[in-house]
């Protein structure tokens, strides 16, 4: 059974069909790439899965259960986490606090009592937060305000914050935007390491160097519709994809 399944999903904004009859099935453990030209509906798809706005038509199921009735925060507690295209950290909170406030998974709620979870000090969450700081390479900046971090560090912190919710499915919305090629390489290692831990990833990305290197399967969107799906090699050879990206007639 697919972990995430979209059936005939549509989202229209007025007359604009941002997503139009999209079918997707992301299998557990996969890194699933979602690519397409600007405005093809990739970010809208991520926002629909995260529950930012309702569907116009269609259905989304996570672990076989319909997501429609769940508000955003409950989808996250069900095991879906995300990062944002334009980084959205809590700038006036420290690095540690950014990870701390994200501990809302059922496991975390079961581990500590209600009072300890809400009114306990920072040290109560050490065991969970220190590994995340190591993972993101920010251990030496734990008390720094998030707004004082460099761009690359902010991206890493946002990924770690998403991991702090203990997701089964991670939605990454253009995580490599604005990164240089060395940083893209490090991001690639991180994504593969998450895959190794069994986290399923839906990756929206323009940087082909990253997409082709980490994904198991790719779907290509254009004008809200899926024009191709397959392995990275199949996608690279697909004439319809070339046409969408390069315009004009396929070579």
């Amino acid at each position: 059974m697919a972990l995430l399944e979209l059936k005939g999903v549509s989202r229209h904004f007025g007359g604009v069909r941002a997503v139009d009859g999209l079918d997707l099935a992301v299998e557990p453990g996969q890194v699933f790439g979602l690519i397409g030209p600007n405005g093809s509906g990739k970010s809208t798809t991520v926002n629909l899965v995260a529950g930012l706005f309702p569907l116009t038509a269609g259905a989304i199921a996570f672990e076989g259960r319909s997501l429609e009735a769940l508000p955003t925060h409950l989808r996250l507690q069900a095991g879906i986490a995300r990062t944002f295209q334009n980084i959205r950290l809590f700038g006036q909170l420290s690095v540690w606090q950014n990870l701390w406030v994200a501990q809302n998974s059922p496991e975390d709620r079961a581990r500590h009592g209600f009072l300890a979870r809400w009114l306990g000090g920072q040290s109560g969450a050490r065991d969970e937060i220190l590994p995340l700081l190591e993972f993101s390479g920010l251990a030496h900046k734990r008390d720094e305000l998030a707004s004082n971090l460099s761009f690359g560090e902010q991206r890493r912190l946002e990924l770690a914050r998403a991991m702090a919710t203990r997701p089964k499915l991670l939605l990454l919305d253009e995580p490599a935007a604005g990164m240089n090629s060395e940083e893209v390489g490090q991001l690639r290692e991180r994504i593969l390491s998450l895959r190794g831990r069994g986290v399923t990833i839906l990756l929206v990305e323009h940087v082909m160097e990253l997409v082709m290197g980490v994904t198991d399967r790719i779907a290509v969107l254009n004008f809200g519709q899926k024009i191709a799906e397959g392995t990275p090699a199949e996608i690279q050879a697909d004439p319809a994809v070339r046409k969408a990206y390069l315009g004009g007639e396929a070579a």
Partner: protein, 304 residues
């Protein structure tokens, strides 16, 4: 000396209502309802000691609980709206409470005298402190004990995960939702704690003035409530205290010799203060600087 004790009482009560707005402001909500919760607490505590013969502590506990309950009930519908809409909604609630007490009569004969709230006349003879022989200093210390307790509670919140969550919601609601936080629950909880603090402050206020009336709980008090934390800065609870001392101690009392010119200067000084320190007296960089200064001068243990 009694003049200064009296001034300290006013500052203490105003600090409490400022703190009640502080915790709500942390979640990014501007509430003008705090004066309403304050009024509910004042009337409730007064009626409990005067009419029901309760002691002061249980009466204050009841007024805090009632303030919390009303704030929680108001919070659910009110927090569905944001920004200016929330300001208007909470303003309407505060005025509603004031007009309720303008029309509220509940008088009981006690030893030949009729006591209790009497509409526009107000609620006179809330004489628990004088009847029990408390001096002005006793009352002042009593008030400041509650101010210290409340500040300690909020300071603790600030260092806990709850405090970080409040600030996270205040900073970016979308991101807060996206890490699994329930916005409604967080905002209503802050409103409820704020309501408890305002209710407590109102209960204390009713007893030290001995006479309350609807006009004291209007828009002016609601404005003061949010002005203290904004002027003082949201970095720390001490900012609210500092602002209450500055406004009540310096602007209101210290400039009294200026007569009618005072109100003009009052407004101008607030404008100047907000221009010089747009993020309040105690903003994040100032706090960091103070923390380092404290650590260097060997304050040691407390600076962690």
């Amino acid at each position: 000396m009694d003049f200064y004790f009296g001034l300290a009482q006013i500052i203490g009560v105003h600090t409490l209502i400022g703190l009640s707005a502080y915790i709500v402001l942390l979640t990014g909500q501007v509430s003008l309802a705090q004066a309403g919760f304050f009024a509910v607490g004042a009337y409730a505590a007064g009626m409990l000691t005067v009419l029901a013969g309760w002691a002061i502590l249980p009466a204050l506990a009841a007024s805090a609980l009632l303030g919390a309950a009303v704030a929680c009930a108001v919070g659910f519908p009110a927090l569905r709206v944001k920004g200016l809409m929330l300001v208007i909604a909470t303003l309407a609630f505060g005025e509603g409470v004031r007009l309720f007490f303008f029309n509220f009569d509940y008088q009981v004969a006690k030893g030949g005298v009729k006591l209790g709230p009497l509409g526009g006349e107000g609620f006179r003879q809330i004489r628990y402190f004088p009847e029990n022989g408390w001096t002005t200093m006793d009352v002042m210390l009593f008030i400041w004990a509650f101010v210290v307790l409340t500040m300690a509670l909020l300071w603790w919140f600030d260092r806990s995960r709850y405090g970080a969550v409040l600030r996270a919601v205040g900073e970016d609601e979308l991101a807060a939702q996206s890490v699994g936080l329930n916005l409604t629950a967080v905002k209503v909880s802050a409103m409820t704690v704020g309501g408890a603090i305002a209710g407590l402050g109102g209960g204390i206020y009713a007893h030290y003035t001995t006479h309350i009336e609807h006009a004291s709980f209007g828009i002016l008090l609601a404005t003061f409530a949010i002005a203290y934390p904004i002027l003082g800065g949201l970095g720390s609870v001490f900012g609210t205290l500092l602002a209450a001392v500055f406004v009540q101690g310096f602007l209101v009392e210290g400039l009294r010799f200026l007569g009618d010119w005072r109100n003009l200067l009052f407004g101008a000084l607030i404008v100047v203060a907000m221009n010089v320190r747009p993020r309040g007296f105690l903003d994040a960089p100032t706090l960091l600087w103070l923390k380092r200064l404290f650590a260097r001068t060997g304050g040691g243990s407390g600076a962690a």
